[in-house]
Amino acid sequence: MALLERSEWYDIARATNWTPKYVTDSELFPDDMTGAKGVPMEKWEVYDEPYKTSYPEYVRIQREKDAGAYSVKAALERSQMFEDADPGWLSILKAHYGAIALGEYAAMSAEARMVRFGRAPGMRNMATFGMLDENRHAQLQLYFPHEHCKKDRQFDWAHKAYHSNEWGAIAARHTFDDLFMARSATDIAVMLTFAFETGFTNMQFLGLAADAAEAGDYTFSSLISSIQTDESRHAQIGGPALQVLISNGRKEEAQKLVDIAIARAWRIFGVLTGPAMDYYTPLTHRKQSFKEFMQEWIVGQFERSLIDLGLDLPWYWDQMVNEFDYQHHAYHLGVWFWRPTVWWNPAAGMTPDCRDWLEEKYPGWNDTFGKCWDVIIENLLAGKPELTVPETLPVVCNMSQLPICAVPGKGWNVKDHPLDYKGRTYHFNSEIDRWIFQQDPVRYRDHMTLVDRFLAGQIQPMNLMGALQYMSLAPGEIGDDAHKYAWVEQYRNNPYQRKAA
């Protein structure tokens, strides 16, 4: 039997809006769940998804993708990747899997909300495939690291991280709960698929796929590429939703959602991707600095997407771009210094050659962050490792849940951005984080940071050991320097000399 071309039946088949007879429209599609912001059903019917597919087509392509990723894994299982890879690369894998794998399940729930409560038939259709995508991503990113668990317990955190109170896991949960677990269908379309996926996941996944191939980890490279092709499809759910909102006089609401989501995504990528690109990736494999990557993808490309849709740049755009120079350096220093509190082994990325590279990419680095590392290196050379681990907690931001940190040394600009709200003082990393809180204080006010929990007596005993127990970090899982401090020897009897300009 001859089949019609998809284009001949697609629009009719997915015209699935109807007029309910037994309940009211608002009962079937409560505004709280749809997030339609009062835009009536018929206005959503102009929603035109740029990428159209049918279920048979989807299944065929996904089957091919899965077959590709799993066959590369099977073919390379006997390779020596785990044994031969630079420890910094293994740390990138562990951090990535722990931070992302179960987040994919969360994203699946979010897509499911668009399937049920999306007001546009096209959105519901696209999100059905998006939901299946995210399920596949979670399963892939749990299955692939599993083979390494027997060699290294830190890989178990691919599954464990989100079930713990480890600080990075709290930060990831807080962000993803805000962006897509506790949002309406339309808000998810804007915040998850447009801001987070179009803006940022593309970057993490494209960058990581290239880095993996460069590092010789072809299994991870093919896995990530396989996921990325799904992302680039379902990330397109948000654009047409924004067009509907804007053309129906809801630009202000849409802009606020975009501004919140970009700010929150930037923090997560700053702590996850920033150190991976500028410190963990071995110097010989680095193609671009994190800042260059951000400028290409966020300033160069995402900025254009915002303008093309008729949105404005977020009010904090210049400040965020300014943070590309320092925020991830501060996060890296924090993660390395508080390394017993993470499920991976942070790579210092601190050989003299690395410092030359950092100075070249970030002029002034040696006079700022380098000053802190000078003291750390001195202590390690002097046989005083106890001075390179913490004896107190960093104060974490009431929005990002990440340490409040900025530039040390000659450019010292660290500052609290407090806010008194109904008898409680909240602390923020920047005006941007504080602004997000002020948009909806009731939404955020009751959350307790790790420091709040410590002061409330929830972490016992009140010392590092108690904190590690609270974070479920068992022996064999607690982070330490990725290269077992071998890099420090390059400085013995040979103080760092800056390369002549």
Binding site: V375, P390, E391, A406, W412, V414
Partner: protein, 86 residues
């Protein structure tokens, strides 16, 4: 005597840290407690200098012998610790 948590923002360091002190502590003692978590860990010592205490945004230091309980500093207020000549 009462345990009193502050936020330490130590000059030249990169991060705010939780600083448990006591209402009976003088500013010099509070400064020494803050220095313990920063100086010699990520901040180079400055021999001959003393560490002075001020509230975030203030330009004047709090007298060195003043006790924490005698100030109107609030728990978990962000306090700056600055190297000074005296």
């Amino acid at each position: 005597m009462a345990l009193f948590p502050l936020i330490s923002n130590f000059q030249n360091d990169f991060v705010l840290q939780l600083l448990p002190v006591d209402t009976e502590n003088t500013m010099d003692e509070v400064a020494a407690a803050a220095a313990y978590h920063s100086v010699g860990r990520r901040v180079a010592a400055q021999p001959g200098k003393v560490v002075r205490v001020r509230r975030q945004g203030a330009s004047d230091f709090i007298p060195r012998d003043k006790r924490l309980g005698e100030t109107d500093i609030k728990p978990m207020e962000c306090i700056e610790f600055i190297f000074a000549d005296s």
